[in-house]
Symmetry: C2
Subunit: 119 residues, 2 copies
């Protein structure tokens, strides 16, 4: 017997959301931008162990998906500011509730300490 295949808009939309935010760095980057815009160098400084290459890729994808806005100033040396779009801001309460879910559901000892930079 084959497998049933049925469209489900809710599951499909969830898959899309996970494609947009569900990887190692994107939720962190969104969180870092919650309080306002940041320059490339600051984002790099605040996310230890990320490489420039990966940071660039993640920012480009978030921009393509309409989550963040990239503003480039014609100066030398160059200055680039990243900020959350409306879509990105709409994500913040959901990420907050995910964070809260962890804090409600697990003891500190159950998940290894992670050291992420913040402002």
């Amino acid at each position: 017997m084959g497998r049933k295949v049925i469209d489900n808009p809710n599951v499909c939309s969830l898959v899309h959301a996970m494609n947009v935010i569900g990887n190692k760095w994107k939720p962190i980057l969104i969180y870092l931008l919650a309080n306002g815009s940041l320059r490339f160098g600051k984002l790099l400084m605040f996310t230890p162990t990320i490489s420039k290459k990966v940071l660039t890729e993640q920012l480009r994808e978030l921009e393509e998906d309409g989550i963040i806005i990239r503003k480039k100033y014609a100066e030398i040396p160059p200055r680039v500011e990243y900020s959350l779009s409306k879509k990105g801001k709409a994500l913040l309460p959901i990420l907050k509730s995910l964070s809260q879910w962890t804090q409600d559901s697990y003891n500190e000892i159950e998940f290894e300490a992670c050291r992420i930079v913040t402002l």
Copy 2:
């Protein structure tokens, strides 16, 4: 200048949440279990393109993280039922809001149709 490293419980908890649900299949599996328990064979049937190996791995990890409960019956042929734990159920409204976020933020044409099986 080095990078600042500061603990942030909120970001840390978000990272943990993404570790628990942020991959290709786990949110789908949680959604599939939203309406009650399902057997291994049913989960396999309802997630086209997943392999037995990967399904087993995902279910084991969800069990380790306390999201689902695995109940094995001593019968021949064997029967195994998977269901959501309390932690898993607490995740449902959050996944729902992520799904809703996509539907509010994107046109259908902006994300490729995905065909996921449902009941």
